[in-house]
């Protein structure tokens, strides 16, 4: 009989979407039916999102087994085969788990996927709230700020401003009432680090907030979370009330004279609210439009009181920094970028998921060693960093190291941590168009260049992807890009042209192919491609005929089919349906 310590099921949003809830329920029922008393811990994101739903079996001798791609049937087999009969089911194990982890360094995500995020006791067992005890028991606020400065921690929301310095500004601002705000309005498409951290280890973020509030002298805090993250909101709510019960939040925290309360504010769907002044306007109940700085929030922020705003991951770094000491933390990373960074790996990558790596690692290591390279047999084309504010980095720059300054030098940015990998089937002009259409919709409309300029850029990009582009469009895009960057008030407008500028500098030939030869080399842009049936490969199975929504694919059983180009809307459903690769896509004809 094997001795099982505990079982962990990843119940983050991704896991639940993949069916982890059913796996969890089945597991509980199976154990109960057999009278087995093994603790089952619902955890947050385990990180290997590409293999969700995940179950980790931990034995008392310390060995661990990670099962992936589970369903109700497979989990029953695991219970019988492994837990009862004692032999692991190799065919369902995730073999790469330990390569996947070997290059990573988990500081912020140390507890995610390990503890039960809805249990404060689990967090306390994992050294939770010891940093807060240390701070309140033995440190003055200025010593806390000094420790943060020594650690070299920089804002993880994207801009990379030194956190200790920021805290120092709010601390020295005059005012009796001060606020601390946690920015959890994770709006970049392709980014889900903050969601995972909030779902997997909400207490770490709360502890970071309380320490920050003590350091700057704030007595009230807000967490501004996207409404699209219902599970994160729920777990934060649970964590806050648990922390209140235990005296980590509220009045006389840990017996001191320090008071601090936290409120959750649900966002209402506006990307620009990730910008700090817009976020504050939104908390105050106004339209979330940015305003001119100065005055900076440190002097005059929420309801005109000195306010400090930090990103979720930044705050999650605070308790470990206090526990290990700023000096120790500063040993990780590069000269100017200390510590680790969490990335959300997604797109055309084999092993997508949450990764935490030391600063200074190369992009190539993250994508190929940790992420396992490109899905299928396709070729790597680019990696997109920083969402709509970032850029696309080509193959030849993949050895660039992950730190704020090196990534900025490529024209992309570190950003909040979204890393979307693209292969040869991704059209770079279309990606530029995609991001512009995003920023265009999300522009709040305050600055003319951002409001109208992005619209004009979008029109040009649409024209090019539709095969109506002109060579002078490229110059016009560049001119507009520069003007939007210099004439916009906030980060949204200042960075909106980045996806266009980086694709223009690294993939200019794709733009030129679209314009001069009316070709889309990635075979993506609908106006420039045609679907046709290769009569030599077609078996006449009629699957594509059935799949076509507009009856453009015609033919009878056992005879090669044909596609009526007049009727075809290029939706690609026939291509998806064909099992013999008989449907070909051509361009430039």
């Amino acid at each position: 009989m094997i001795q099982v310590q505990e079982l962990l099921v990843g119940l983050g949003s991704c896991g639940i979407a993949a069916g982890a809830r059913q796996v969890y329920d089945t597991l509980i029922r199976e154990l109960k039916d057999r009278g087995m008393k093994i603790p089952v811990i619902p955890t947050g994101c385990i990180g290997a999102c590409h293999r969700e739903p995940l179950l980790e079996v931990r034995l008392k001798d310390g060995s661990r087994f990670l099962y992936g791609d589970l369903d109700i049937g497979k989990v029953k087999e695991v219970v019988t085969g492994h837990l009862v009969e004692g032999s692991p089911l190799n065919e369902y194990l995730v073999p790469e788990k330990y390569d996947y982890l070997a290059r990573q360094k988990k500081i912020v995500l140390a507890n995610s996927g390990v503890i039960n995020p809805e249990s404060i006791d689990d967090y306390i067992k994992a050294e939770g709230y010891t940093a807060l005890r240390k701070v309140i028991g033995t440190m003055r606020p200025d010593e806390v700020i000094e420790e943060l400065k020594i650690s070299g921690l920089r804002g993880r929301g994207g801009a990379g401003f030194p956190t200790g310095l920021k805290w120092g500004f709010t601390s020295s601002a005059s005012g009796v009432k001060k606020y601390l705000v946690c920015n959890a309005d994770e709006g970049d498409p392709g980014a889900f680090m903050d969601r995972s951290l909030l779902e997997g280890d909400p207490h770490a973020v709360i502890e970071g907030m309380v320490i920050g509030a003590y350091a700057i002298g704030a007595d009230e805090g807000y967490i501004y979370v996207r409404a699209e993250y219902p599970l994160a909101i729920k777990r934060l709510g649970i964590a806050i009330s648990q922390a209140e019960e235990r005296g980590f939040i509220g009045e006389h925290i840990l017996g001191s004279d320090f008071f601090f309360n936290i409120h959750i504010k649900e966002g209402a769907g506006a990307f620009v609210c990730g910008e700090e002044t817009a976020l504050m306007a939104s908390i105050e109940g106004k339209r979330g439009m940015p305003r001119i700085r100065p005055p900076f929030p440190a002097e005059s922020g929420l309801w005109a009181a000195p306010t400090n705003i930090n990103n979720v991951e930044t705050l999650g770094n605070v308790p470990p920094i206090i526990r290990m000491g700023g000096g120790e933390y500063a040993r990780i990373g590069t000269e100017k970028s200390k510590g680790t960074k969490v990335f959300a790996l997604a797109g055309k990558i084999k092993r997508g998921g949450m990764v935490e790596v030391p600063m200074g690692i190369s992009l190539r290591e993250v994508i190929f060693d940790i992420g396992g390279g490109i899905k299928g047999d396709k070729k790597f084309k680019a990696v997109q960093l920083g969402g709509p504010s970032g850029g696309c980095i080509p193959e030849r720059l993949l050895d660039v190291q992950v730190d704020y300054d090196s990534l900025t030098a490529t024209g992309a940015i570190m950003g909040s941590g979204g890393m979307v990998v693209m292969d040869e089937s991704t059209c770079m002009v279309d990606i530029a168009r995609y991001f512009l259409s995003f920023t265009q919709t999300e522009s709040c409309g305050k600055c003319t260049f951002c409001r109208v300029g992005t619209k004009r850029m979008l029109e040009i990009l649409e024209r090019i992807t539709q095969g109506q582009g002109r060579m002078e469009d490229i110059d016009e895009l560049q001119e507009l890009a520069v003007n939007i960057k210099i004439s916009s008030l906030c980060g949204l407008g200042q960075t909106a042209p980045n996806p266009v500028l980086t694709t223009l500098s690294y993939f200019r030939e794709e733009y030129e192919e679209h314009i001069k030869n009316k070709r889309c080399p990635a075979l993506h842009c609908k106006a420039l491609i045609r679907y046709r049936v290769n009569p030599e490969v077609c078996t006449g199975c009629t699957l594509c005929v059935k799949a076509c929504p507009v009856q453009a694919v015609q033919g009878v059983r056992k005879k090669p089919h044909i596609i009526d180009q007049e009727l075809c809307i290029k939706c690609g459903l026939c291509f998806e349906a064909c099992r013999f690769s008989a449907i070909e896509i051509t361009t430039g004809e």
Partner: protein
Amino acid sequence: MDRFNTLLKKWKGQRGNVIPLLQETQRFFGYLPEQAMQEVARVVEKSPAEIYGVATFYAQFRFEPSGRHMIKVCHGTACHVSGADSLDTALKMELGIGPGETTQDGMFTLEKVACLGCCSLAPVVMIEQEVHGRLTGDKLKKTLRKIKD
């Protein structure tokens, strides 16, 4: 209506109450009826124009009733490169509606959203509160047919 009035009372006089109040109003009615927005304006002591200005700024607020099932098609970067557009085509075929529209029988409303944060399962669609991942046009159609039955 009494319950709506209780809700209004609960938020009266609180700082920064406009957005939470509008969110609760929408949860209550399923959208923001004009009459309700005027009530909100009265309670928070602002002009109806100001309240309408706030409501229209945020993507979450709707001004028309929605269908019984809300379908949100994710158009985040990962979903975009993994074929979110073909899901739109499949939905158009199956339900005959595009983003922002509601089926005539009031069963489904379609919305396009920026990112649901389930990028490693791309492309994804959220129906009610449930996220469906690794979709193809065909799988999505089957899911919808299950709901219809």
